[in-house]
């Protein structure tokens, strides 16, 4: 799908800086951002909170058949990262030796290009992680 410029713009805090939310009532942290706390509902008070940029690999897969827009990257590693606060997110793992991509490997967020539409099109940036 072509990158919609307003969507890229709206997601800048989350995709560039891992901005999530926390419920001040029950302290549950969410990434991506949520409009309200599913646990506390109306009793909750949700405010922005930046997620830690470090975590560990919870699960991973080497993707050989890539979707449109990611063909040139294949094969690449996709992972579920568990951040230091326990919140999980999906990310690619880049700039890491294959042997070091394992369960529990410590990882750190990198700022990277995610997709580009075509030669004259929009470029979308965001997070990828590398093993540290």
């Amino acid at each position: 799908m072509k990158n919609a410029i307003p969507l890229i713009w709206r997601r800048i805090p989350e995709r560039y800086a891992l901005m999530g939310t926390v419920c001040e009532n029950c302290k549950t942290e969410y990434f991506p951002k949520r409009m309200f706390c599913a646990k506390c509902r109306r009793k909750g008070r949700v405010v922005e909170k930046q997620m830690p940029d470090e975590g560990k690999i919870f699960s991973f897969s080497e993707v050989h058949v890539a979707p449109t827009g990611h063909e040139s990257e294949a094969p690449y590693f996709l992972a579920i990262i568990e951040l230091k606060n326990g919140v999980r997110l999906m990310s690619q793992i880049v700039d890491s030796e294959k042997e070091k991509i394992k369960f529990g490997s410590p990882v750190k967020m990198m700022f990277r290009k995610i997709t580009e539409d075509d030669h004259d099109g929009t470029i979308a940036y965001g997070y990828k992680f590398k093993v540290v």
């Binding site: 799908m1 969507l7 997601r11 991506p32 919870f58 699960s59 991973f60 897969s61 080497e62 993707v63 050989h64 058949v65 890539a66 979707p67 449109t68 827009g69 990611h70 990257e73 094969p75 690449y76 996709l78 992972a79 579920i80 999980r88 997110l89 999906m90 990310s91 690619q92 369960f103 995610i114 997709t115 979308a124 965001g126």
Partner: protein, 387 residues
Amino acid sequence: MRKVAIVGAGLSKFGERWDASFRDLIFEASSMALEDAKMEGSDLQAIYGGTMAPGRLIGQEHVGALIADQLGLTPIASTRVEAACASGSVALRNAYFAIASGMYDIVAVGGVEKMTEVSTEEVSFALGGAGDQEWELFLGATFPAIYALMAKRHMLDFGTTEEQMASVSVKNHKNASKNKFAQYQNEITIQDVMDSSPVASPLKLLDCSPITDGAAAVILCSEERARKFTDTPVQIIGSGQASDALALANRKSMTEIAATKEAARQALHQAKLTIKDVQVAEVHDCFSIAEILAIEDLGICKKGEGGKFTEDGHTALNSKISVNTSGGLKGCGHPVGATGVKQAVEIYWQLQGRANGRQVKGAEIGLTQNVGGSGATAVVNVYKRMD
């Protein structure tokens, strides 16, 4: 609530159907179902059709009305239902509600997907919509990759092996070889799966269900009128549905599909049965790991033992419990919107003793489990023949 039974069933041939359009597939399945029920189209009072992505796959929306139009059934109410790969089962459930409530007596349920009119890349993108567009697909995830992340974690936590996963595909191809409607009617070996090309490690091509054109249809009827159409109606005795986070990362566990557990709990509770009462089950094996998760989450075996349970042959035809006698999504094919309805068709035939060449002996109670996306929707239905 009134009792509801299936009184007729039909399928199109599943496969790469270059000869058949979306409309042709619907006609094949529904005309077979109407003939099976010895019913006239004019007997139908409403239609529920499950289809996931006709907008992306054939450029067509508003397919509820299209179905009624093509079948010459206007002006009856015709509703399209979408829940990704669980669209068919959710359509079936809504038809069930419509009769159980007393609103209608006879309702047709269809499921259809025409997937080979566009490129594989376009199909992947359309199916990707079952996951989270902004937080999974955008980052380079595919559906095989999302299930691969579950498989990898299952291997770590429980010692599940690639060979055990392969044994799901081997079994389902064997069952499909006895099903004339199936896309693949050839048997394969563990080695064939292990040697197939990598898709998203640990999943290989033969761990994955194919791209399929196909349609399925069942006719539902209130209990009072069911015997007018067949001597052996098959009653829906329990139905459950549950939802979960769209994105895998936002779920509590990656080695279970919590929505399956909840839907099964609802369905079995309503049926006043346990999973031990079920002899034949159609489950959602979009990837080999998915069948392992399904049999664990349904309670057919303990959590973590699904790989070994399958490898030991306990889910083969006429073993402890016969799972995916149709060939499942892997062998029979996976036209996504049709799959949930096809599962009901297979159970209908099994409970009526009409599953030629793959009949489960003494099948009294059947179950279907259908998943949307990577587990954000799950539907479980339980069926019993009315003797």
